[in-house]
C-alpha cells in the first residue's frame, strides 16, 4: 500500500505552513480557481524522483515574496513500513531528500514510492510531440522498475557526452565507442523495462472489467524497429555516427522512442479520438497500472488527478470513483466544486482550499 498519513508544507508555493493529518481514503480537494489545489498535489508528486508534475525548478516553488526556500515532509505508509520523507530546498537550490532522517539521492525515492499523475496539460498528450508521451510512459515504467531512474540517468549522461563530441566535431572513434558502449548498456535496460511495462499494462487492461476503453499501446522508433539486443543498439549508434556528426546530436536510441496509442475497440488512433475519449484512455492506463502494481507487488501507487472531472461525463466520473474505491487507492483529486465529488459520499476525505491575501489556507470540513 501507499498512503500519505500526514503532510507538512513550509513556504511551498502559495502555502506558508500546513499540517495535515490524513487517513487512507481518497482525498478530494476543492476550492476556487487559483486557491492552491494543484500546489498540494504538486507537493505530493515530489515524493517521487524528478522535478514533480509541473516539471518546475525548486526556485519556482519558493513561496513569493519571501523566497526563503521550502520544505515538504510527509509520512507514508508503504507495504512494509511507515516512512518519513522530507524534501528541502534551501534558497531555491535543487532539492535535497531525506528518508527517515537520512540524506539520500532522489533515485532512492523510487524504491519506496510510486506516484502517477494525470494533469490538464495531458489532455493533449496523444496529439502533441513524442516527448510528453515518453515522459508519461517512463513514469509508468518507473513505478514497476525503480532501477529505471538510474538507467535513464546513466543513459542521459553518456548521451550528453556523446552529443558534445558530435557538436565539437571530435573524430576519435574509440571515444565514441566507449560512450556508445555505456549508452547501449543502459539503453537496452531502458528498452526492456519499457516493453515489459507496456505489456503488463495491456494485460491489466484486458483482464479487468472496467467502463474505461482499452488503450492499445505500442512502442515505436522514429525509424526502423526497436533494437532487440545490446549489440543491435550498439550497431545502431555506430551506424548513426556519420549522420549524427552532421546534425550535432544523437538521432537514434531510446530517447527517440514514441508510445503510440489507439482506442482498441474502435481501432482508431488515440490522436483521432474525441477529447473525452482521449482522457478516458489515459484513465484506463493509470487504473491498469495501479491494478498491476497491486497484483504484482502488493504496492499501490499514489495517483494524482488534477481537475480530473474535466472532459469526463457523469457516468465515467462515477465509474472512476468506484474503481478508485474498489482498488482502495489513495487518489488525490482536485476540482472547483465539492459536488464534483459527491458520488464518493463519505468514502473520501475532503480538503477545502481558500486564498487569504495571497496565502492558501486548507480546512478539513
Amino acid at each position: 500500500m501507499s498512503f500519505v498519513t500526514s503532510l507538512n508544507l513550509s513556504h511551498f508555493r502559495s502555502y506558508k505552513h500546513v499540517h495535515l493529518k490524513l487517513d487512507k481514503r481518497p482525498v478530494a480537494i476543492f476550492g476556487a480557481n487559483g486557491s492552491g489545489k494543484t500546489n498540494i498535489i504538486e507537493a505530493i508528486s515530489l515524493f517521487s524522483p524528478g522535478r514533480g508534475m509541473r516539471r518546475a525548478s525548486a526556485e519556482a516553488m519558493m513561496r513569493r515574496p519571501e523566497s526563503l526556500g521550502w520544505k515538504i515532509t510527509g509520512e507514508l505508509e508503504t507495504t512494509d513500513r511507515t516512512l518519513e520523507i522530507e524534501s528541502v530546498s534551501e534558497n531555491g537550490t535543487s532539492r535535497q531528500v531525506k528518508i527517515d532522517g537520512k540524506p539520500t539521492s532522489q533515485v532512492e525515492l523510487a524504491k519506496h514510492t510510486r506516484v502517477l499523475w494525470l494533469i490538464p496539460s495531458m489532455d493533449r498528450l496523444w496529439t502533441e510531440g513524442a516527448e510528453s508521451r515518453r515522459r508519461f510512459l517512463d513514469r509508468i515504467v518507473l513505478s514497476f522498475f525503480p532501477k529505471h531512474a538510474e538507467h535513464s540517468l546513466s543513459y542521459e549522461k553518456a548521451m550528453r557526452e556523446r552529443n558534445r563530441l558530435l557538436k565539437e566535431q571530435v573524430l576519435d572513434a574509440h571515444w565514441y565507442a566507449a560512450l556508445e558502449n555505456q549508452m547501449a548498456k543502459s539503453g537496452t535496460a531502458i528498452d526492456r523495462a519499457r516493453i515489459k511495462a507496456v505489456d503488463r499494462i495491456s494485460q491489466a487492461q484486458a483482464n479487468a472489467s472496467t467502463q474505461f476503453p482499452i488503450a492499445k499501446l505500442e512502442l515505436r522508433q522514429r525509424e526502423g524497429t526497436l533494437p532487440e539486443t545490446e549489440a543491435d543498439l550498439l550497431t545502431a549508434f555506430a551506424e548513426s555516427r556519420f549522420r549524427d556528426l552532421a546534425v550535432g546530436r544523437t538521432m537514434v536510441g531510446p530517447h527517440k522512442t514514441d508510445m503510440y496509442g489507439a482506442y482498441a475497440a474502435k481501432g482508431v488512433p488515440a490522436s483521432d479520438c474525441s477529447t473525452g475519449e482521449q482522457k478516458a484512455l489515459l484513465v484506463s492506463i493509470i487504473l491498469a497500472n495501479a491494478r498491476a502494481l497491486a497484483q504484482d507487488q502488493g504496492a499501490k501507487p499514489l495517483i494524482l488527478l488534477d481537475e480530473i472531472s474535466a472532459h469526463l461525463d457523469t457516468d465515467r466520473r462515477g465509474a472512476l470513483y468506484k474503481e478508485i474505491c474498489d482498488l482502495n487507492l489513495q487518489a488525490w483529486m482536485t476540482g472547483t466544486e465539492p459536488e464534483l465529488f459527491s458520488e464518493f459520499g463519505n468514502k473520501a476525505q475532503f480538503l477545502y482550499v481558500t486564498d487569504q491575501d495571497g496565502t492558501s489556507i486548507i480546512s478539513q470540513p
Binding site: 549522461k157 553518456a158 557526452e161 558534445r164 563530441l165 576519435d172 574509440h174 571515444w175 566507449a178 560512450l179
Partner: protein, 197 residues
C-alpha cells in the same frame, strides 16, 4: 570586534581541509598551540619540507618527493602488471593493501567531453608508450563504477586493443564506490578475483 588574528586565520585555513570543519579545526589548532614544541613546530617544519619537495612522478603520476617515485624506481615492481587508477588516493589505497606488486598509472581524472578533459589530459598516450617500454603484459583497470569511469575504462581497452591482457577489478561494491573508501580486505579480494575486461 577584534581584528582577525593569525590564529583565526590558521583555523579558517584548516577548516577548509577535507574531513575538517570549523569545530574540528578550532580543536586541532588549540591542541597544536598548547603542544607547541611537541606538535606545532615539528608539524610546521614537515609542512615546509613537503611544500618544498612534493611532486608528481613524471612516469606514473604518483605523488612523492622525487621526479621518479619509489614504485617506478623499484625494479622488483616491474612484474609486467600495470594498474590504472583515476586518482593518487586510489593508488595509495591499493598500496595500503600490499597485495598488488606491479606498477601504476594515475590518470588524474576521467574522460569528459563536457568538462573538456580528453585522452591526452589523462596521459593516455603516455600509458600506451609505457605498455611498450615497460614490457607490460597485463593492464588492470581499477576505475570507478560511474558512467565516466567506465567510459574511460572502455576507451583505454579500445586503445590498447589486443596487445596485452586487460582485466578489471571484480567488485561487489556500490555504484560509484571509490577505491579510497573501500576497506583493504575488499580491495584485495577485488584484485584477486579480477576478470577479463
Amino acid at each position: 570586534m577584534s581584528s582577525i588574528t593569525v590564529i583565526d586565520a590558521l583555523i579558517d585555513q584548516m577548516a577548509k581541509l577535507p574531513g575538517l570543519g570549523p569545530r574540528s579545526a578550532r580543536r586541532a589548532v588549540l591542541h597544536l598551540v598548547r603542544k607547541r614544541s611537541l606538535q606545532l613546530i615539528p608539524l610546521a617544519n614537515k609542512m615546509q619540507q613537503v611544500a618544498a619537495s612534493a611532486r608528481e612522478c613524471l612516469n606514473c603520476g604518483n605523488i612523492g618527493t622525487s621526479d621518479i617515485c619509489g614504485i617506478c624506481e623499484n625494479e622488483s615492481r616491474a612484474n609486467g602488471e600495470m594498474c590504472v587508477v583515476e586518482d593518487v588516493a586510489d593508488l595509495w589505497a591499493m598500496e595500503r593493501t600490499a597485495v598488488f606488486k606491479g606498477r601504476y598509472h594515475v590518470l588524474g581524472g576521467t574522460l569528459s567531453a563536457l568538462d573538456a578533459i580528453g585522452p591526452s589530459d589523462l596521459g593516455i598516450p603516455k600509458l600506451m608508450d609505457r605498455i611498450t617500454t615497460e614490457n607490460i603484459s597485463e593492464v588492470i583497470l581499477a576505475l570507478n563504477v560511474t558512467v565516466d569511469g567506465q567510459t574511460t575504462a572502455h576507451y583505454i581497452s579500445e586503445e590498447v586493443g589486443k596487445r596485452v591482457k586487460i582485466t578489471s577489478l571484480a567488485r561487489g561494491v556500490p555504484i560509484g564506490g571509490e577505491l579510497d573508501y573501500l576497506d583493504d580486505g575488499t580491495i584485495s579480494a577485488a584484485l584477486k578475483a579480477r576478470k577479463s575486461f
